[in-house]
Amino acid sequence: MRAWREGMRRVNRAPAVLLGVWALTLLVSLPLTAVVRGMLAQHLGSSLAADTAASGVNYDWMQEFSDQATGLGVTFKPTIIGFGAVLDNLSAFMDDIERPVVIVGAASFYILLWIFVAGGVIDRYARDRATRAHGFFATSGVFFFRFLRLAAVQWIVYAFLFGWMHPWLFDRLYPRMTHETSVERTAFVARVALYLVFGVLIAAATMIFDYAKVRAVVEDRRSMIGAITGALGFIRRNCGAAVSLFLANFALFVIVAGLYALVAPGAGRTGASMWIGFAIGQLYVIGRLWVKLVFWASETALFQNRLAHAGYVARPEPTWPDSPAADAI
């Protein structure tokens, strides 16, 4: 709990990092949004269909657009409205649903950006003091190629999980488990059980790679295999704390998503309500980013609390006790 609170405190004390990763998210999403906007505007043209599309939902138009769409346009579906977007993405993640190649490309680029900034972000949280832009990007640069090597290992692991384990669980085992199931609730329980299995595997892999990054930054490790081994060793020795922290952070995600489910805007209109809706959406995105950063910050704090010593490269400024002379003065 201490590390968890400490993680949140460190993230909150570095709003520039949060704003920076939000800016990255905007950087990737804005150009694609502009493309989609162009597609929608072209299809609507000067049609009166735009009036109802502007004032609410013109579902007939949406379907007509969807039927004629190609590329990015095929992702323009009712599911983008409100909390449906969150469900759609989570469901696609857990069910490993294929996305259009443009989205996959954008996601890959976004991940690459995260790999670039990861070193700087973790370094900032490890030091728990401002590192300034120069320090941030210098550290990011230092760790970029190390984390690219780590990403190669991650890719192999996730490719195994999504490319082999997921199909085995959901395309082979699940149909076998439910082949003679004639009660939907039973099938649902089976599917939830497999989601848990798959989720635990993903969580375990994520946790290991998180701590590998933390150890790489805090200890200035060059070998990513060594960082992974170190992460495994740390998690093994601090299993309860690491798992509890992960669950606590996951609970934060659930809370953020749950709050968004309560306030997520519907279709709305153009004008002020459009901007309010967009602002709520961006607050949610910032919330998600905050949770992601809290994962890293709290894991860094846990590592430092459990295994830190003064020789570590990235550490908070030591707080020395008052001198005995202070009393005399």
């Binding site: 998210t25 999403s29 804005l30 694609l32 949004t33 989609v36 906007r37 929608l40 299809h43 609507l44 043209g45 000067s46 049609s47 009166l48 269909a49 735009a50 502007a54 579902y59 007939d60 039927d67 004629q68 992702t75 323009f76 009712p78 983008i80 409205i81 909390f83 449906g84 977007a85 469900l87 759609d88 993405n89 989570l90 989205i103 954008a106 996601a107 976004y110 991940i111 990861a118 991650q154 149909p175 439910t178 004639s182 009660v183 939907e184 609730r185 649902f188 599917r191 989601y195 519907g266 279709a267 209109r269 153009t270 959406g281 961006q282 949610y284 995105v285 998600r288 980013l289 992601k292």
Partner: protein, 650 residues
């Protein structure tokens, strides 16, 4: 005539037409309603452990054509699922039929396939077993065993009759085409050797195709079914008798006159519920629901949907004459949902079924509706499936709109288990109910006049269901509901308990509408052309004291329909032009003191078959940019969330 007065008169007519035929709930109307030329007395036993049915039947068949019958032909539908070489399986491999396989055929175990073996057949006491052979009248597929023929030593003359005794055994499959078993749930349809329909042109006895359903003559069914004791059983007709046997089985005897098929179901898990449909004018109907335990809370939703059908179809077309109906809520993954049989049908719902979303109501109204379009009016579903599926899709949308408003869009996530209701999107009858989106994708796939069994299997449903519903609703918007209602009621009245063909319907349309609508059916029925009208250009500029306005409208599609063109000016004036829609384009010009604001083709959307409605209008004050911005911002949040989901792995 005022609609209210029309309705009262229609109801009075219905009452007078049905009062004499009003049955007690015995399965036996007071007077015969149909020709009853193909009647069956069947005794069958289900062994759930081996999933085997052993049966025998006596068919009393009468030749009601003007030609002698030199042979007899029978459907053996379950042989379609004997192996992957049948016509059904070969066509199914061409693409999804919309029926969808219950499980991937490649994963089927040997015991999950089906078969039906005729072990003996006698005609008038003479054994013809050795003479039976399989024929393939549709495609000459030597591996298809879904039609059996036996040559007769002596032809059966017109008006003559034959008594045919058949014994058979059958293996119940893991569900194909809504028939089969999963666990201890059995839904048994198309399960007995069934004689084809002899017409003046010869036997109409098609092979089983994945994109089509069935066709048979009306008769009397007296069926005794032996199943394990304690297993509730639902079937066509009324239970007349129940005998507990010594071997822990129960024999249920069901009886029904004036139907053309018989289906049944049994499972120890069924919950039984009963309710009644009552109406000031229409005959009462006892409703029996066999429900899955996990849907216990949804019983009333099933009953209300069935009531909706019996009320509206009854008022619009004619009364339901049988006095009883059985609703089956099929087991999860049974693949048996959404199918009609005389006096019994399968609905289909989900464990999580939020309110204001028409699951189970939509499918219940539709399948109950088939009691009218398929059950009572018995068209040939092999050749003209649109005459029941299309009529019924149109009617379903109309009935659902009467009762279930609003009806929201719900999408399902996480393996399809978790529904999420989009309360911004209320589904409209005209486009959603009539399934425009599906039609738009497949509009050119087949001309509707092609026999249904020859439609491309993957897209045939869009022509059968969607296109018909859309052109009927277009007729409603063009002729008015009172006229269309009279057309449908006249067709129903004339062809109930008979087998209408497309021209019979078209003749009724022309007679009741009082005009020749052959041109319309040339477009929508005899052609695969699509409708697409649009505004190509709208200009309105000052020219001296006045504004000179020009509007160019276009016929982008190949099909033709007269449409209105409406130009609205800034001072509120509206100019309406009636365009016959025949030319590729047409120019309208106006010189007015006010500038034009909008131009619209078919502004009231009479032509629901128009596949591209967005281009039907133009305005000089476009809002496309604002709408695009609004929606792209929503899409952006979706994209950001998508990115964040994958970034969780970094």
């Amino acid at each position: 005539m005022r609609p209210a007065l029309l309705t009262v008169l229609s109801l009075a007519l219905i009452r007078s037409a049905t009062a004499s035929a009003q049955p007690a709930v015995t399965g036996a109307p007071a007077t015969p309603l149909s020709a009853r030329n193909a009647s069956y007395t069947i005794a069958a036993r289900l062994d759930p452990a081996t999933r085997t049915i052993t049966g025998s039947e006596v068919i009393t068949w009468r030749n009601i054509t003007t030609k002698p019958a030199a042979d007899l032909q029978f459907h053996l539908y379950w042989n379609a699922w004997k192996n992957a070489r049948s016509t059904f399986m070969r066509e199914r491999a061409l693409g999804s039929t919309g029926l969808g396989p219950a499980v991937d055929d490649r994963q089927r175990r040997a015991d999950e396939w089906a078969r039906i073996d005729v072990t003996a057949i006698k005609v008038a006491g003479s054994d013809f077993t050795g003479l039976k052979r399989f024929i393939a009248p549709d495609d000459d597929n030597p591996d298809d065993e879904t039609v059996m023929a036996i040559p007769l030593a002596q032809a059966i003359a017109p008006g003559g009759a034959a008594t045919i005794e058949v014994s058979w055994t059958a293996h119940v499959p893991r569900t194909f085409a809504r028939t089969g078993a999963i666990g201890n749930f059995f839904f048994i349809a198309q399960w007995f050797p069934k004689i084809g329909v002899l017409q003046d042109e010869g036997w109409n006895c098609h092979q089983f195709h994945p994109g089509t359903e069935f066709f048979s003559d009306y008769g009397v069914y007296d069926v005794s079914l032996t199943v394990p004791s304690g297993w509730p059983l639902g079937a066509t007709g009324v239970q007349r008798d129940r005998v507990e046997n010594n071997d822990r089985t129960t024999t249920h005897r069901y009886y029904q006159e004036d139907v053309h098929d018989f289906a049944w179901t049994t499972s120890p898990d069924y919950l039984e519920r009963d309710a009644r449909f009552e109406h000031p004018v229409l005959p009462a109907v006892d409703m029996r629901l066999l429900l899955q335990p996990e849907h216990a809370g949804q019983a009333e939703r099933h009953f209300n949907a069935t009531r909706t059908t019996l009320k509206y179809y009854g008022e619009w077309y004619g009364a339901y004459p049988y006095g009883h109906i059985t609703i089956i809520d099929p087991a999860y993954q049974s693949g048996a949902g959404g199918m009609e049989y005389p006096t019994i049908f399968t609905a289909g719902t989900r464990w999580l079924a939020p309110p204001h979303v028409t699951t189970p109501e939509g499918v219940t109204v539709h399948e109950a509706g088939h009691q009218f379009w398929y059950g009572i009016v018995g068209n040939n579903e092999f050749e003209d499936a649109w005459m029941d599926e299309g009529f019924n899709t149109f009617s379903t949308a109309r009935a659902v709109a009467e009762v279930y408003d609003p009806n929201y869009l719900a999408l399902r996530y996480f393996g399809g288990f978790i529904p999420w209701v989009f309360r911004d999107i209320a589904l409209g009858r005209e486009t959603e109910g009539n399934r425009l989106a599906g039609y738009r994708r497949d509009a050119k796939s087949d001309a509707q006049s092609t026999p249904t069994y020859r439609y491309f299997p993957a897209t045939g449903g869009s022509i059968t269901y969607n296109k018909t519903a859309l052109w009927l609703n277009t007729m409603e918007r063009s002729l008015g509901w009172p006229t269309l209602q009279r057309i449908m009621a006249a067709h129903f009245e004339k062809w109930k308990f008979r087998h209408p063909k497309p021209n019979d319907y078209f003749e009724t349309v022309n007679a009741v509408a009082g005009r020749d609508l052959g041109w319309y059916f040339d477009q929508v029925y005899r052609s695969s052309n699509v409708f697409d009208y649009g505004v190509q250009d709208l200009k309105s500029a000052r020219d001296g004291e006045q504004y000179h306005t020009s509007v160019i409208v276009r016929c982008y599609g190949e099909a033709i329909f007269p449409v209105d063109v409406v130009v609205t000016f800034r001072d509120g004036e509206r100019m309406t032009e009636h365009w016959d829609g025949r030319d590729r384009w047409k120019l309208y010009t106006y010189d007015r003191s006010a500038q034009a604001l909008t131009a619209e083709v078919d502004p009231h959307r009479v032509l629901l078959l128009d596949v591209n409605y967005t281009n039907n209008s133009k305005t000089l004050e476009p809002k496309g940019g604002g709408a695009a911005t609004k929606w792209s911002m929503k899409w952006m949040v979706w994209l950001q969330d998508c990115l964040l989901s994958w970034a969780a792995l970094v």
